[in-house]
Structure formats: structure tokens, C-alpha cells
Symmetry: C2
Subunit: 463 residues, 2 copies
């Protein structure tokens, strides 16, 4: 038994009824107060996150803005109260037998467990989108801190605690489990007071916790977003006039933030013709010249560095470019970008080439024709995103490929790049297994709250 | 490998794209044509179901009407096309960086597997609510026939096949797996072409198949509705003027259809005072005088008869009434109603008393006061329904009990009885585990289609 987990779960359970039944405006006020509290932490917060994660200060300023925007977006959602999806089937007293009145609406599941992600220490962490969505609908939240940014977690948690107090809500509405151990996370998933859990991170970690959730005496919904390789298909017509901007944009997307995004484009499909080879040459030159960057933690960096070595050893894989990792201040976290290539038949024979390698590395699959793109898309596992560069997109073009990509991905990107997840009403950040454990949900955008609610009906007599 | 499953899955996969992209009106036409086809089967269908299930002809006429009503309700839902929940976040070309346009809508998951239930051979079987919901959103459907009514399954399937042909849709849009074996069901859940499965039946069967779905290389959503004991709480104030009608109504609800409903009230909570004892006496007399009835199959009848004997042997359980099973035409399917009682402390000490016993048997738990009701409600596992008889219901009365029942059940019934599930927009037929495998979904009503769909987003450039 983990005392920290036990205490947090007990207080969350005790707070649930008051919080679930709080006025919509009260939950909105809490979310806005959390955003204001995070902003009041000022430069001290950014400095702390930068120290722990090595993420650039400019990026962290943007991430803080996004985090507060998310909290305020969900405050608006809570206040409008439309998410409850109230439905009423009127009574029919004259029917035989009389039809009763039935009303139903969505209600919070109960205390929610959130696993903070490593790569967005603000936007997908203690006060990230998961926490915002769960609080918006009335679920008390327990966050398992990420061991790679413990002080950041504690600082943000202090802002949430203060907001809960300011709003005169029960303190069990929020708790942080600071314990860095895996056992604390497992104990939390197993705790009977927890009624739903969400996770953003590796496939290995996500699946292990999902199995725990399913093995409980009372299984609970467990949503894990586990990343993917985000295939990008470059159709020949896109290269006739846009070869250079696509190569530049792809290079920027694959190396952005030292490649530490779950939407990083890890596989690129090209036709192996003159234009394709010229494109590849340009991309390789850009990758080779990429400045080294510091990764989020030494563990992540070691996994990346070893992963690149292992990748290069797979049959048929050619290394096209490998940027130097030298010149960075933190030696055991410095990583260089890498680019590999393989021919389509060798790719199709080795499914492990579609496993995510977290970091600034991509594999280019050289195809005979766009018909190979459809075969490759069909062979891929579930993805968060799939991208098509198609020149001027006209409806009816490339229908076979687009149909297949809809089957494989939660978001299909036309003439763009997959990194950069916009937060809004239409957002879908999810996808078929193994990108997530349940393709019917998203972890970003207002639809994300649907993971935390269930319909309840009330029936009253016809007369 | 099961050839029937293999063939059905292959054809469903081949049909999926055409069916998913069919015009909403085409799916509506299919559902209406199925309803008309079932009606055209006429008396021959009712006679077949009656022969196989022993359900009374009048009830089967009602169930057919409900089945066709469900199909037409989902036809309207398909035609209106609002279920796609289209959302658009407009582009912002002037933002830095430019914000792309994102639109998203719900799309069908893929071929759906439906397990027919034994107790509604029309409304929860081959052309039941699950099939109607899946077809409405564009999922091809494969139904695993129920071995207790194989000819009924085949007759209804013939009407669906004819409707698919009339609508000029690919024949893979629908298939029936007639194979009675458990292995065929397992093979179907395991088949990679199946992308979602739904089940109505026993907890044992539902959990076994749910585990199969989770153990696939690509786990799929598996929704099982596994029944419950549907607690009914009679508050003392309800007995001052309504003791007789409540006893009559409860008796009718617990013995309706030989108790073969997943919403049968299997546990009744009463205060052990003069009014409570008088109520119990009346209920026991009604149960003792209940005419015997034929159950759906000899297997179900044997489980019920053995279950009643085992129940009577549990410590502290008193048998109050046991109706004769004699006088029915089918000896190995005849069952008599039964009523048991136990005191509250002995009840709370034995959780197995909350397991469902499928058939016309109920347990009365005698409590010291309504405060015991809250303790008992908290001790119960998840339920499809929970009922409160409270005299004139006023907001603010019995808040502790109502809060606890909301945590435990998908539908809370005031001053009514749980049997009779109305089909509409507000319907919630589901509930926390173990009533179902996922409390966020319903298997009846228009919300049932949410089990079969997932959001997909399309992103296009800002400019």
C-alpha cells in the first residue's frame, strides 16, 4: 500500500459528490483561477521547466500560453454546460402501457487519474488538457507526476491547490502523487476509488497500465495515447513545383523540439524517380546539417541513441545522414538528427520498421509508384496522423490512399505537416490501436471530456 | 479456422468502404426495407419464435413491433445524419504560425460483430438494436446466431439479405454465423477484419469474450451488457397509501416473461416494521400463487432451478414463497417463481447474494431503517437500473440514497418498475461494471450508435 496514493484517493472520493454537483460556473471559475495562478508563477516556472527539461525558453513560453488557453477553453465548456447532452423523452400517459418520462444526461465517472507526459511538461502534464477536461465535467483529479520534471509538477500543483482553496472547493478535488516510482502509478491504477485513468507516453508504459486497469475487480476506462510514426506520403505531382518547400518543412517538422513529439513524421513515402531522389538528397543535406539538441532526459536520449544504432543494423536500411550530437552543454542528453532509407519490398517484409523511435529520426521508404503507397498504408498499424502531399488537392484524387489513411489515423493532414496539434472543438488527437487504446476518443480538444463521463437516465411515471 | 467466420469477415471487409461511404438515405432505406421484410414474414415468423422460445404469441407480436420501430428509428437517425457531429475549426491565415482548417466528424469503425441474446429473439437478436445502430452508421454487421433460436435467426437473416439485395448494396453488408458453437464466436472476436463487437447475455460469457477482444494483436472495443439484480428500494412513506399497488406491480415486474429480463428486480430493500412485514406478506402470497411458465431453453431453466436451490442454502436466507412449476407443457423448461428474505447484516456479509439469478426469483433484504438502504446501495456492484419508491417525490428528499444510486446504475427509476426499456433519444440501457464492460455506452436507444463510431479529423492549409 502506497500512503500517498491511499490518501489522495480517499480525499478524491470524499470530494467527488460536492464537485460533481457544483454549479457549472464554479468549475469554470476553478479552471480560470488555475490558469491565472500558473501565469502568476511567472519566470520562475519557465526557469524551472527549462532547467528540468532543457526545452528552450521561447518554446516554454508558448507551451504555457497553450496550457492556460486550454484551461480557459474548458472553463467556457464547463460554463456553457452543453456537454451534458441532456435528452428528454416525454411521457405518454395515454399509451398502453403508459410511457414514463425519461431524461438523461452525461455525468462524471468519478475520481480520475492522470499520468503526466514527459514531452509537454506544462500542456500535457499536471494542469494539462487531461486535467482540464476532467475538472470541467466534475471529476476530481489525481496526477502522477512525471519523474523527468518533478519540480515543475510541484510548482504547477501548488497553483492548483491554491485555486481549489480560493474557490472554496474540497481539497480532494486535486492531488499530486510526487512519488517517482512505477509502483506508485500501478497502485493508483489499482485503487478502487479511481474510476477512470488517462495516460500519454510510451507504448510499453501505456499497455502495462491498460492491462492493470482491465485486471481490476472493477475494470475502469483507461485511455492511453502512445504515439506513432505518423506516415507522410509525397505524391509525385507535389514535387513538380514544391520540392524545396516540402523538404524544408519536413525537415523542420521531423527535427522540431529534437523530434520529441508524438506526431513527429517518422516514416516518409516517396517514389524512387528523379524528382524523388533529388528531394531525398536535399532532405539528407538538411538533416546532416541539423544542430545538435538536448533531449528531455538522459533516459530518453539513451533510448534514442541506442535506437538509431539498432535501426541502422536492420536489413536493407541505409543511413543517409547523421548529424553530430556534439556541441551541446549536457553531454548525456545531446542528440543528432538521423535519416534512413529502405526500398518498399524490404520495408513491407519487416513490420518492426513501423515502431516509433522517439527523437529526430525518420525513415524514407522508396516506392515504385503511388500504388505502393496504398499497400504500405494498409500494412501500417494505427496512427495519430497521416499526411499526404498532393499538389493541388482535388476531390476524387487518390481516393484509395485517402480511404486507407482514414482507416489508419485519427487525423489526416493535406499539404501540411503533422507536428502542431491545434486545440479546438474539431480536434482529434487519437487514433486506432496502437496509437491509442481506444480509437473512439481524443486526448486533446473539447471532445476529450467524453473520456470522463457516462450517461445516466432518470425515469418518472407518466402520470 | 472457421470457414463460416472467415467468409463472413472477408465479405464484410470488402463491403465496408462502399457501405461507409453510402449516402445517408441509402442506409435509411436499408433499415426500412429490413423492417418491412420482417413484417412480411408474417405469422410464420411469430410461430417459429414461439416454437423455439416458448414466449407467448402476444408478447412476440409486441416484440416484433418494437424491433421494426427500432429499425425505423435508426433509419431516421441515419437519414438526418446529425450523428456525424461535424465540427469545423476555421483557418486563421494571419496567425503566427498560420492556423490550418480542421474539420472532424464521426466515422464507422468497420465490420461489427453482434452476439444475439436469448431473451429477446427479435429485439436483441439478428435485426435487433445492435444491428440497427451499426448499420445506421455504416458498419457491416456479422451476427452470431443464438443457439436457443436458430430458425428464428435464419428467418430474420433472410429478410436482411433480401433487403441488402433490394438496396443494391454489397452482400457483405450483412452475414449470419449460424454455427452454434462457442468456438465460432471466439473465432469471430479474434478475426482481424472485425473492428468492434457487442454482446448481450451472461456475465460469464460476456467477460470471456471481452478478454478475447483485449488479447487480440489489435484490441477492439467490446461492449457487453451482462445484466444485473436491479435493486428496488421501498421507502416507508411509500407504504402508507400504496402498499397494495406496489406489491402488485413488483410481483408483475419480477415474474414478467418468467423473470427473463436483464432488468428484472432481483433484490428488494424494505424496512422491517409493521408496514414492511404486511407488504412482504402480500408479495409472498402473490409469488406463491404465480402460474408456472416455460423458460427460453432447458439450459436456462436448469440454471434457474439449480440456482434457486443453491440460493436457499446460503446462510441466513429464508424461503418465503415458491410457486409450483407443474402444469406446463414442456417439463424441462417449466419454472416457478420464488421469493427469499434475509436480514441486512447477513446480506452485507455475503457479496455473492448480489449475483444475478436469471429467472422469476427475488430476494428481500429487511433493513432497520432507510439509513441501511444507503449502506446497501454502496455495497452493490454496478447495475443497469435502480428503483426508488418514495411516495410523493420531492427534490431534496433521500439525497444520500439517490446520489449513491446514480453511482451504481445507468437508469434510476422513481415510483415505477425497472422492466420495460423504452427506446428513444434519452434511453440509457447500460451501467457501471459488471452490468456492462463500459459504463460510458448504452446498448439501447439512439445513443447506442456511439459504440460503433470514432472521430476522424481532416486538416488543410490556412491559405
Amino acid at each position: 500500500m502506497n500512503a500517498q496514493v491511499e490518501n489522495a484517493a480517499k480525499e478524491a472520493k470524499a470530494a467527488f459528490r460536492t464537485f460533481a454537483n457544483a454549479a457549472p460556473g464554479m468549475r469554470a471559475a476553478l479552471l480560470r483561477e488555475i490558469a491565472a495562478g500558473i501565469e502568476r508563477l511567472g519566470d520562475a516556472l519557465i526557469e524551472c521547466v527549462h532547467r528540468e527539461t532543457a526545452l528552450p525558453v521561447a518554446r516554454l513560453g508558448g507551451e504555457r500560453a497553450r496550457t492556460c488557453m486550454q484551461l480557459r477553453l474548458f472553463a467556457d465548456v464547463a460554463e456553457r454546460n452543453e456537454w451534458i447532452d441532456e435528452r428528454i423523452d416525454a411521457a405518454e400517459p395515454a399509451r398502453t402501457p403508459p410511457r414514463p418520462r425519461i431524461s438523461s444526461r452525461l455525468r462524471p465517472l468519478g475520481p480520475a487519474l492522470v499520468f503526466a507526459a514527459s514531452n509537454f511538461p506544462l500542456a500535457f502534464s499536471v494542469a494539462g488538457g487531461d486535467t482540464a477536461a476532467a475538472l470541467a465535467v466534475g471529476c476530481p483529479v489525481i496526477v502522477k507526476a512525471h519523474p523527468a520534471h518533478p519540480e515543475t509538477c510541484a510548482m504547477v500543483a501548488s497553483a492548483i491547490h491554491a485555486a481549489v482553496e480560493t474557490c472554496a472547493l474540497p481539497r480532494g478535488v486535486f492531488a499530486l502523487i510526487g512519488d517517482a516510482g512505477i509502483d506508485a502509478g500501478i497502485a493508483a491504477v489499482r485503487h478502487p476509488a479511481i474510476k477512470v485513468a488517462v495516460f500519454t507516453g510510451s507504448q510499453r508504459g501505456g499497455l502495462a497500465l491498460w492491462r492493470e486497469a482491465n485486471q481490476r475487480a472493477e475494470p475502469i476506462p483507461f485511455f492511453a495515447e502512445m504515439g506513432s510514426v505518423n506516415p507522410l506520403f509525397v505524391l509525385p505531382e507535389a514535387l513538380t513545383s514544391q520540392s524545396e518547400p516540402i523538404a524544408n518543412g519536413l525537415h523542420a517538422s521531423m527535427t522540431l523540439g529534437v523530434g520529441q513529439f508524438c506526431t513527429q513524421p517518422g516514416i516518409v513515402f516517396l517514389v524512387d524517380d528523379g524528382a524523388g531522389r533529388a528531394f531525398l538528397e536535399r532532405l539528407a543535406a538538411l538533416v546532416a546539417a541539423t544542430p545538435a539538441g538536448n533531449m528531455l532526459s538522459s533516459v530518453i536520449c539513451r533510448n534514442y541513441t541506442q535506437g538509431v544504432v539498432a535501426f541502422a543494423a536492420i536489413g536493407g536500411v541505409r543511413k543517409l545522414a547523421a548529424a553530430s550530437a556534439a556541441g551541446e552543454a549536457i553531454p548525456d542528453r545531446a542528440a543528432g538528427a538521423a535519416l534512413f532509407a529502405i526500398d518498399v519490398d524490404t520495408f513491407l517484409a519487416q513490420p518492426q520498421l513501423s515502431d516509433e523511435l522517439f527523437g529526430p529520426s525518420s525513415l524514407v521508404v522508396l516506392c515504385r509508384s503511388p500504388a505502393d503507397f496504398v499497400r504500405c498504408a494498409e500494412a501500417l498499424p494505427g496512427q495519430l496522423t497521416a499526411t499526404v502531399w498532393a499538389g493541388e488537392h482535388k476531390s476524387g484524387d487518390n481516393e484509395d490512399l485517402l480511404w486507407m489513411l482514414e482507416q489508419k489515423a485519427g487525423r489526416v493532414v493535406f499539404n501540411g505537416f503533422p507536428t502542431g496539434v491545434e486545440v479546438g472543438e474539431a480536434t482529434m488527437h487519437g487514433g486506432p490501436f496502437p496509437a491509442t487504446t481506444d480509437s473512439r476518443f481524443t486526448s486533446v480538444g473539447t471532445r476529450a471530456l467524453l473520456r470522463f463521463v457516462r450517461p445516466v437516465a432518470w425515469q418518472t411515471p407518466a402520470t
